[in-house]
Symmetry: C2
């Protein structure tokens, strides 16, 4: 978005002051990731987002991608921006040195991904998709496959995709039809059509490496018969030489509400040559290994839109004058006061601000867990991090993208009718981020993952582990009497959460629909409580800084005021969610299909 | 929207069974508006919406309006559809016979306006804007002005606009700059620029009659110096002869998120000839006379989108198969079950259904009040209707358009990733209806109108009048024990509403920002309670029909089940709104402008 400024300062506050990232990186052996180095890298990333990506965001939306006889042309400037990104070494930031990467932490690269997406959601998807492909090959590829693909992917000369969805199956991959037949030489012939393949075809890289799920002949039905393959656009030699064109083609691109500069492709495999990645019929398990980071990545896209919409609305609210303040002129020499003086405009801005900053704290915490789960030498530390990550991932994905819908909507609303006009950029944010609650698993899928798979599936254990962290924290600040009200509120919420979870599981024992019936409200409830916990931590940290004396008092005072707003006006949304959850499944399941129609 | 079916049956249920429209029309002397006649007209309107307007909705969005050197071309088929509409006599449906109209009730015409807007929001705006122009001239125009313009407007040969907004003033019309200087011959020269003028220029009618607000020389500052003028594109002779071109021109059209086939124009008045309508400096008061119906009209646009999104999502949810139901296969011969079997999909569909049908009952009730306020012979009846209408109008406008955002968002969400793709039509509904919370007074403006101007301005009297209607109704059904829980819930809400209102007014006596701080939450609270009252009435009526025996039992059973959903899962949203309202203004007003920025 034009005029966007990367929130480097807030990210550094969360990392260094809230979550102890200096020690965290040192513990994991990331000796290069000192605070100074992090700040230097962030500063370069901010420039790239603000000066290279933001200026081609609106034009990219206007122009869109063009499909012509199987070739896809990205909008003006996209290719050049990608070239700069490659030359800057950004593609391999968090990849291993052995494949040419810089071996910096995942969390460092991902924190910056938020800003690239704020500046230009469509553009940021191209390098974003490569990550999933690299993670898959690193975790499950053979040595030979790694040698064929990883150097070029890490260097950014090649990009990657994830090919899952087919026309008749999205969430329910058990219905997958794409087939893979052995050629007898260790390779396979893939046949089938995949849809919604982001970055499936484009003009930014020399080659595109598709990770494809398909069925082997005689594979079991359902999700237990899915295998993973690597299928490049151009076949590769043993050391990454680009060879002949493969039978992979882009049949068309979708015409969408937003992210128009991101090519969403129909990809046809017509006996394309591919190689099995990992074991036969274990494809879905392989996918799970990077699903956490892919979902956190989508959550970050939501966060990125909330931040950009906040920045746009704030600037307009300070500039646009309309009506006098109810408590006397604030701009006595002008004909009216800036609309930031009106309480309802403030309500919208503070909602955006509270979501952007609170959600960022949650996101950077989740990334810290990913670092630990990947890199810690301690089994126990890794296991705890993995447990917390399993629990928080669907919350990060769905809560950060659902709240982005509200934040971007307020971005337009603060502008009044002007918010609807393209030139201000607010409507593009709303259109672009609308996909985030749908792709990479809808909010409904995340909610079932949280409540059925994670919480009920662990008999409540995954919730208990996180709840204990929150309770321990509340106990630790009991001496800080000024925070008692908020701390008590969080503790009460945690007790309610645990009890409500038990009640849902009891009801579900009789009627399994109870899980689905409660799921989305339960996820949103969880999101408000988790982010409330982070707002409490932010407030306590900010007060400590103020007590210790600081040159930046306004920054910390703003944190305290935003926390107050969150506790007064956003955390209280749990009241309605509880009522809805407690009402049970009957009010959803009783209506017959025929009764839905009344026309 | 393609495939849309006008909800004629539900409208007739509300009119005839819920709100006693047969007697209502008879009382007001609309002898032609018998139930049979209403049904016949509705049936024709449904055909027009479904067969003429819906098929050019997606193409109109794709093509948009084209501006070329001051001329605006509407998309293919728009002109022809308008011609059919004119030939069908629809433009003068609710206009007086003396100007060539059919003298049918306002409510009859407006009920159908919902369907035209569902089928094609952009198209429906052209005839919609003429209404405001006609109402203004009927209420405030001189006999001479009426003779010059009304016959052509009623016949639809000419269309009209309302020119209010200027680049620097939207909500705050006190800052208006457009000026009108007397020419000495009874006419005025108008100079200035108006923006956001819907239907300001187009190719569908022979002439365009602009109603313009402007300042006379030496007019007082602020809203007390605003006068109203009629300024046609082509000047008119005494009997509506089309004369020479006036100095009115379209400088450009806006590029918008949605309603792309509706021309949103910059209109330049360069010494254009106009005539004063009503008294000098009383322009804003003249505007208020049709503001209720204009705002109800926008509320109807919101409703229209909720209905269309529900229909689209419902059809898809019955057709799309994905996963098995948790309680065993519902489609055992297929590989998976239709997604309408999954509880969270039902939650979304029922939310849409409850909003569409409950909001429709409220809208048709508000229209009944308009009929009475216009046409009743009894002063007392008129006054009560006006009081209720003044109170309900901002609720209808804002609640129906805010809930439309949720309904259209669910319309996409039920489709998963396919909801983001243009060909399904769901994303267009979301884009088109997004303007509805912004134009014709934002939600924030409606909320201040409700709480400050209407409720506090009447010292609570306007709320009391409506609250008494609800309490009387609850008292009247006390014998129906099966409805006690819902009736008690509504009564408790009304008591809470009254008490909370008193508390806000007390706080506002000390700090006037308390009104703005509570306003939007207060409006939404009011909307949930008002629509809850209508769901109670719908449920009681449905039960009476079932008890009496009916061939259409499924229709009435569905009403009872939808009411249950509303009481369990939507009315309960008041819990969070109350918490937010009670938290007061400080959490909004304390932050300084500088503290908002953290980048």
């Amino acid at each position: 978005m034009e005029g966007f400024k990367a929130p480097v300062k807030d990210a550094l506050f969360v990392m260094n002051e809230l979550l102890g990232y200096e020690e965290h990186y040192a513990n994991l052996g990331y000796e290069d990731a000192t605070p100074d180095m992090v700040q230097a890298i962030f500063s370069e990333a901010a420039k790239f987002a603000e000066n290279v990506l933001a200026p081609i965001n609106a034009s990219g939306d206007e122009e869109g991608c063009q499909w012509n006889d199987g070739e896809v042309t990205t909008p003006k400037g996209f290719k050049e921006a990608y070239q700069q990104y490659v030359e800057g070494g950004w593609t391999g930031m968090a990849q291993p040195e052995e494949f040419g990467g810089q071996n910096l932490p995942y969390s460092l690269a991902s924190t910056m991904a938020e800003w690239f997406s704020s500046a230009n959601h469509s553009w940021a998807m191209y390098p974003g998709l490569s990550q999933g492909c690299m993670e898959t090959l690193k975790a499950h590829g053979s040595k030979e496959q790694q040698d064929m693909y990883l150097n070029n992917l890490v260097a950014g000369h090649w990009t990657g995709t994830m090919c899952l969805t087919e026309p008749h199956c999205g969430s329910d991959l058990g219905m997958l039809k794409c087939k893979a037949e052995p050629n007898g030489d260790g390779s396979y012939s893939l046949t089938g059509t995949k849809i919604f393949i982001s970055a499936g075809e484009h003009d930014m890289s020399e080659n595109i490496v598709h990770i494809v799920i398909a069925r082997l002949p005689d594979a079991p039905g359902g999700t237990k018969g899915i295998s993973l393959f690597v299928v490049p656009k151009f076949n590769a030699g043993p050391n990454g030489e680009k060879l002949e064109r493969n039978a992979v083609s882009c049949g068309s691109i979708e015409h969408k509400m937003g992210i128009k500069a991101s090519a969403t492709c129909v990809i046809n495999f017509d006996g394309a040559k591919g190689y099995l990645v990992g074991e036969e019929n274990r494809g879905l398990n392989c996918m799970f290994t990077f699903m956490n980071t892919a979902r956190i990545g989508t959550g970050l896209e939501g966060l990125s839109a909330s931040e950009a919409a906040f920045q746009g609305a704030l600037a307009y609210a300070k500039d646009r004058i309309q009506f006098r303040s109810m408590t006397g002129p604030k701009n006595p020499n002008g004909p009216a006061d800036p609309i930031i003086n009106h309480p309802d405009v403030r309500r919208m801005l503070l909602t955006q601000k509270a979501f952007a900053e609170g959600n960022r704290a949650l996101a950077i915490y989740a990334m810290q867990l990913v670092d630990i789960a990947h890199d810690s030498k301690s089994d126990q530390e890794r296991q705890i991090a993995e447990a917390k990550l399993a629990f928080l991932t669907p919350i990060v994905k769905a809560f950060l993208t659902e709240t982005a819908q509200e934040s971007t909507s307020y971005g337009m609303q603060v502008f009044g009718g002007h918010g609807f006009i393209k030139e201000w950029g607010m409507e593009q944010l709303a259109r672009d981020t609308r996909i985030c609650t749908m792709y990479e698993g809808t909010t409904g899928i995340q909610a079932i993952d949280l409540l059925a798979r994670k919480v009920a599936g662990s008999k409540g254990e995954l919730l208990n582990i996180f709840a204990q962290e929150v309770k321990d924290y509340c106990l630790s600040i009991r001496g800080e009497s000024q925070f008692n009200a908020w701390s008590n509120s969080i503790e009460k919420h945690v007790d309610e959460w645990l009890q409500m979870t038990g009640e849902i599981m009891q009801r579900a024992a009789k009627n399994p629909e109870e899980l689905g019936a409660a799921s989305v409200d339960y996820l949103m409830y969880s999101g408000y409580v988790v982010v409330g916990y982070f707002w409490l931590k932010i407030a306590v940290t900010a007060q400590q800084k103020l007590d210790a004396g600081t040159d930046d008092a306004e920054f910390y005072k703003a944190k305290l005021l935003t926390a107050k707003f969150y506790f007064d006006r956003l955390l209280t949304r749990t009241r309605s969610l509880v009522s809805s959850i407690e009402s049970g499944a009957d009010n959803l399941m009783a209506m017959t299909e025929e009764q839905f129609n009344i026309v």
